[in-house]
């Protein structure tokens, strides 16, 4: 708590403020453009962060994360297409309200609830992350293994789509992490005699491929799609009456979003859907939902932005990403030589609190920029896909090549792009692949080291109370979809 004063340090660094400003603008642009978003944008910008010091690099990525999550709402409200998956629930009431000639009111509510949700989640992050980091001191290799398994099972059970497909995708991600020299024995695995593969498959080719290139292929199937745009005059601040209607929803969704964000899952996407559903359940006028309910917009937007701070909690405290974008941020930390975990809290508090402070400022910045600039940002969606995607391809190729200066990385990016396209087409989420890839080394490493400690006795895992708790939670997480399905069937 003595470090709380460090939160305001970014305010006194002109360099960090400039980075924050550009990160917020870039995040808003990425959020507005359907198919891009903070995950792809963060991955594309990673190579550029090499020119920055570690704190500025992570501040840039977190600003993109916060602003990008909000930016999706602009497109959701004005053209009925979520700029990011997290804004999908915002379309349900945002667009109908905009069609009634109240686009400014809808955007105003989305902006205010996003900011409140975002700031609430940063407060959760500030207080909860150090507590979790302290708890992590109790963790040994078996506990980390059990935690990683818990993370993956949570991802499967509360992520979007089929839990079994999510598990397959997660296992595929872990499998990718096994390519290259085995870290314990230096034995080649799945290298097929290709020298470049002995170092393993990098994170960037996989992320850019699965998100940007697969989206390019998806867009190639939608070239004749026409968007119905709603004109925006100006963003309006919510009225007193709107605040009266929504304040409980915003607080509830901020709590839901922060909690969902902490769990390793598709962060904002799941949070906004639950936030929206809960807003409807508690509303005095649930029949208005889907027809332009202001509570629906507030519920979805407060929740998806609240997930940003929540998702940073396990990322910084344990080195386990809470969402796909935090997986990119985690990679950014590792590239810059920062190892997340409890030691980071003890040894580099100024670094951590700098991130916390920057996230707070980013939320305020996107409020100002969103309020005054939404009209301009909305115009970005007018850039036709036939020009936009070839340009994104050029940046993707150069960005992927730049990290290792390897043409194999570029080919892998294209391969993962095609895999990602077909995965999405047949209902497999690509997010578990990313989380699996980033957790892969941790899962295998901690499992093998635990077995060395236990002298090969697997049952010893069950004698560690924390590990056992995570295994039990994993079982509960896995049985959750079954219970949900049974309840649904019983209802029918």
């Amino acid at each position: 708590m003595e470090n709380l004063g460090l939160i305001f340090a970014p305010l006194f660094s002109y360099k960090l403020l400039i980075v924050l400003f550009f990160g917020t603008i870039f995040g808003l642009i990425l959020g507005v453009l359907p198919g891009l978003g903070p995950t792809t944008g963060g991955a594309l910008i990673l190579p550029f962060t090499m020119t920055l010091d570690p704190l500025s690099a992570i501040v840039l990525l977190t600003a993109i994360y916060c602003a990008g999550t909000y930016g999706g709402a602009i497109t959701a409200i004005l053209i009925n297409t979520p700029g990011t998956p997290a804004a999908a629930a915002t379309c349900l009431d945002g667009y109908p309200l905009a069609q009634k000639g109240e686009a400014g009111r809808a955007l105003g509510m989305a902006t205010v609830s996003s900011v409140i949700g975002g700031i609430a989640s940063v407060i959760v992050l500030i207080f909860f992350a150090p507590l979790l980091a302290n708890l992590a001191y109790e963790f040994g290799q078996p506990e980390y293994f059990a935690l990683a398994i818990f993370g993956l099972t949570m991802l499967a059970s509360i992520g979007e789509g089929s839990p079994i497909k999510n598990l397959i995708a997660g296992a595929f991600g872990i499998l990718i992490s096994t390519v290259g020299k085995d870290f314990m024995t230096s034995i080649d695995r799945f290298t097929f005699g290709i020298n470049e593969l002995t170092e393993g498959i990098g994170f960037i080719p996989v992320v850019v491929g699965l998100f940007a290139i697969s989206e390019m292929l998806t867009q190639s199937t939608l070239i004749n799609q026409i968007f119905n745009r709603v004109a925006l005059k100006a963003v309006k601040l919510p009225s007193i009456d709107d605040y009266k209607k929504t304040w409980k929803t915003i607080i509830r969704s901020s709590g839901i979003g922060s909690f969902i964000g902490v769990l390793p899952a598709e962060g904002g996407t799941v949070a906004s859907l639950i936030g929206y559903a809960e807003a409807k359940r508690w509303s005095k006028k649930p029949e208005d939902f889907g027809k332009g309910s202001i509570e629906g917009i507030a519920g979805a937007e407060a929740a998806n932005n609240a997930a940003t701070g929540g998702a940073m909690v396990p990322t910084l405290a344990l080195g386990i990403p809470g969402s796909a974008t935090t997986a990119v941020i985690l990679t950014g930390l590792i590239i810059h030589g920062v190892r997340p975990g409890p030691d980071l809290f003890r040894e580099q508090p100024e670094f951590l609190y700098g991130i916390f402070g920057s996230m707070l400022i980013a939320n305020i910045l996107f409020f100002v920029l969103g309020f005054f600039g939404a009209k301009i940002f909305a115009r970005i969606t007018l850039v036709p896909n036939k020009l936009l995607w070839p340009m994104i391809f050029a940046v993707s190729v150069c960005g992927t090549y730049s990290l290792n200066q390897s043409i194999i990385d570029v080919w892998l990016m294209l391969l993962f792009g095609v895999i990602g396209f077909f995965m999405r087409r047949y209902g497999f989420s690509v997010v578990p692949v990313i989380i699996g890839l980033i957790l892969g080394e941790l899962v295998e490493g901690t499992l093998r080291q635990s077995l060395v400690i236990f002298d090969g006795n697997w049952l010893m895992f069950l004698q560690r109370p924390i590990a056992l708790t995570f295994f039990v939670l994993s079982l509960i997480a896995l049985s959750f979809p079954l219970i949900k399905r049974k309840k649904k069937n019983d209802k029918v």
Binding site: L167, R189, S220, I223, I407, L414, G417
Partner: protein
Amino acid sequence: MNDVHKEKGTNKSLSLFFKSSFIVSAVIIVISSILLYFTFTFDIVPPILNRGIQPATFPKALLILIIALTLLTYFISLKNPWKNEKKLPNSFYITLFSFLVFIIVSKFLDFFLGIALLSIIVSYFWGERRVTYLIMVSIIFPLIVFVFFETILGLRFPPGIITNLYYG
């Protein structure tokens, strides 16, 4: 009459093989099985040096898990079929073809020529007919990206007929 029934039955069982759930499951299982075969070719650590499990054990376990889960998904799909996907349009195959063009050109001719060709193919076949825009997207923008990466990040791009002109 019996023959008609037989024929219908055959069609039904044949159509099973063309269902996306069957094709996707089959592809995953075949690829996983091939990879599983490769895990048996990994070097083995001698027992005296081995600590914990062999390097092949973990990937083997993952691949068996993927195969088992895929089979489970397939059997579930027999009860709850996957939704039918629309046929892919020509623009998709052209975009896929442009990736192939990029790979061949960037490998044998020039990295930036590959990007330029891909950009022009994608932009043209996605509907752009204005020459100025095609030039902008295929030449001017990649050039800006090249200079940006080259100067800001100090990146050296792979040699090629155009890149060599720049590097002298």
